[in-house]
């Protein structure tokens, strides 16, 4: 397909620098600056991009930005890794064992339907304002996602592959290691990607309503102090963190699984 230019990018590579894309972005930012400067936009709390950049610079210069940034990053990553381990482990078991699947999947589907965000208040009840509460929420939300996609991946092993395993007289453990896990990997990676963006979202939410540390809390405090520049500065930081985390994972999975680079799970 010639029109699908996205496919032209080398897997794992950064590709060419997208000049029209970056200039559009710059033009939009410029337009925003102009609109605020010329006061055509009558919004009381809309800062100009230059003001936001200034706020970011100040936050970096005073070092005020880094403790919350590190806190959020650490919470999101630790929670994501724990959720991934839990989800993949349980997912493989449920995918392999038919009785376990039969007598638990419906329960899992029901429990999973509860929006994880609504459990933030419960976590607050249980652990109060703490890092543990934040991690609990992140792990909880991420683990379901990884679990379900792992189960899907494991159960969708192609019958031909299973026959290969039988023909080579693989033990069950070998078959899991050499056939089941590799063939489930694309599905697992999709789950992991979803879980990563989810863990950043929930880290920020947990910090906004509960844990008095991190970017979410800094954001809320800036907003309540009616400092739009700082508020936007934190929002931009969080957005950049999201972009970096997502790009990092995509890069890693593209390197580990070249076949995946065709953009599966793009909907996530």
């Amino acid at each position: 397909m010639a029109r699908e230019h996205g496919a032209k990018r080398r897997p794992g590579g950064t590709g060419r620098v997208n000049i029209p894309g970056l200039s559009t972005m710059a033009a939009l930012v410029g337009l925003w600056e102009l609109a605020v400067r010329s006061a055509t936009v009558e919004l009381e709390f809309l800062p100009a991009p230059s003001g936001i950049a200034g706020a970011v610079a100040t936050l970096v210069a005073t070092g005020e930005l880094f403790p919350p940034l590190l806190h959020t990053l650490r919470a999101a990553l630790v929670g994501w890794v724990a959720a991934g381990a839990l989800g993949i482990g349980l997912g493989v078991v449920l995918g392999l064992s038919r009785p376990a699947w039969r007598y638990s999947m419906a329960s899992i589907e029901v429990v999973r339907a509860i929006p994880p965000v609504s459990l933030v208040p419960v976590a607050l009840l249980l652990f109060g304002f703490s890092l543990r509460m934040e991690l609990l929420v992140i792990v909880y939300a991420g683990a379901w996602t990884v679990l379900v996609s792992t189960v899907e991946g494991v159960r969708n092993l192609r019958p031909e592959l299973a026959d290969v395993g039988r023909m080579l007289r693989m033990s069950k453990a070998t078959a899991v290691r050499k056939l089941v896990l590799p063939s489930a990997m694309p599905s697992i990676v999709v789950g992991l990607r979803l879980a990563l963006s989810l863990s950043l979202v929930l880290a920020v939410v947990a910090e906004m309503v509960g844990n008095p540390r991190g970017l979410g809390n800094a954001l809320i405090r800036a907003q309540q102090a009616l400092q739009p520049e700082q508020t936007f500065a934190y929002v931009v930081t969080i957005g950049l963190l999201g972009v970096v985390l997502n790009a990092g994972l995509r890069r890693m999975s593209a390197r580990a699984l070249p076949a995946l680079a065709a953009g599966r799970g793009e909907l996530a």
């Binding site: 038919r98 007598y103 939410v205 929002v235 969080i238 909907l267």
Partner: protein
């Protein structure tokens, strides 16, 4: 069918000289999902039922952390009689519905644009990518600063989060449109309107629906998120308030309601999809 005919064929008998062990039987790991029905067996509800029962029997009604299920119902009953449950349900669901509708419309239009023009896609790609990576929670304070605390702000944040699945799915749908379809429209000399009505929209509907399927749960979650974070209106606000006052029975009851919504939404989307494509042989 008798049991004998359904049983798997036995392995062919090994030669007398063949001392290798027989091939292992087909294992549990060979592509069961292909044979399994779409819905997991209802027996799977047993552990949940057992858990809830044990919770009810062993839990103490006064527990601030794990109140037994009957107190959830009591909590909901209290909210119902005080007349707060119904308005909150209405607010949550209407925010959700409005935002999802707007997101579907905008997402489909933007997806159409970006899918049809590679130039536009390349030009707006990075900006959209950045907006997409923005956690919706982080957008809330900004939206509150700009739009104030109200229904508009809620709907705007939810729309911003729910638009991406529709946009991306429509975009790839446009790219996958069969060129023959458009050629045919041209040779039939259809007007632009006719072409849209008879070719483009029907061809894109499956991708748009796929996007909505992903977007609907997202929209619901983000609605709850906004309500919990800002504590304005809706079920999420009730949960946050109940948690502040340590009414844990109410918290769990309301979470149950949220789960119910999510079930309802998923079911509705499936039904709508089945209805929209009832005349298509294979989707």
């Amino acid at each position: 069918m008798t049991a004998a005919t359904r049983a798997p064929a036995p392995h062919p008998p090994a030669d007398a000289g063949d001392v290798r062990p027989p091939l292992p039987r087909r294992g549990r790991w060979d592509g069961q999902a292909r044979r399994a029905p779409a819905l997991p067996p209802l027996g799977g509800l047993l552990p949940l039922g057992a858990l809830l029962l044990a919770w009810e029997l062993r839990g103490s009604p006064g527990s601030p952390y794990f109140p037994p299920p009957t107190t959830w119902v009591d909590g909901l009953g209290a909210l119902w009689t005080s007349g707060r449950l119904w308005p909150a349900t209405h607010q949550t669901l209407s925010t959700f519905a409005v935002a999802l509708a707007v997101a579907t419309l905008l997402g489909a239009l933007l997806g159409l644009l970006l899918g049809a023009s590679a130039k536009a896609d390349r030009a707006f790609g990075p900006t959209l990518e950045f907006l997409r990576a923005m956690p919706p929670a982080a957008v809330v304070p900004v939206a509150a600063l700009l739009l104030g605390y109200g229904a508009t702000m809620k709907a705007a944040v939810v729309t911003l989060a729910a638009i991406w699945p529709v946009l991306l799915s429509t975009r790839s749908g446009v790219r996958a449109i069969d060129p023959v379809l458009l050629d045919m429209a041209r040779s039939l000399r259809l007007s632009a309107l006719q072409r849209a009505r008879h070719c483009v929209v029907p061809a894109l509907l499956p991708s748009i629906f796929l996007g909505v399927r992903v977007a609907a749960p997202v929209a619901l979650v983000i609605t709850m998120l906004v309500e919990i974070v800002t504590r304005i209106d809706g079920i999420g606000a009730l949960i946050a308030t109940a948690q502040r006052s340590y009414l844990s029975g109410q918290v769990y009851g309301l979470i149950l309601v949220a789960g119910l919504f999510s079930f309802l939404v998923n079911g509705l989307v499936s039904v709508a999809q089945a209805y929209a494509f009832r005349n298509r042989p294979n989707r």
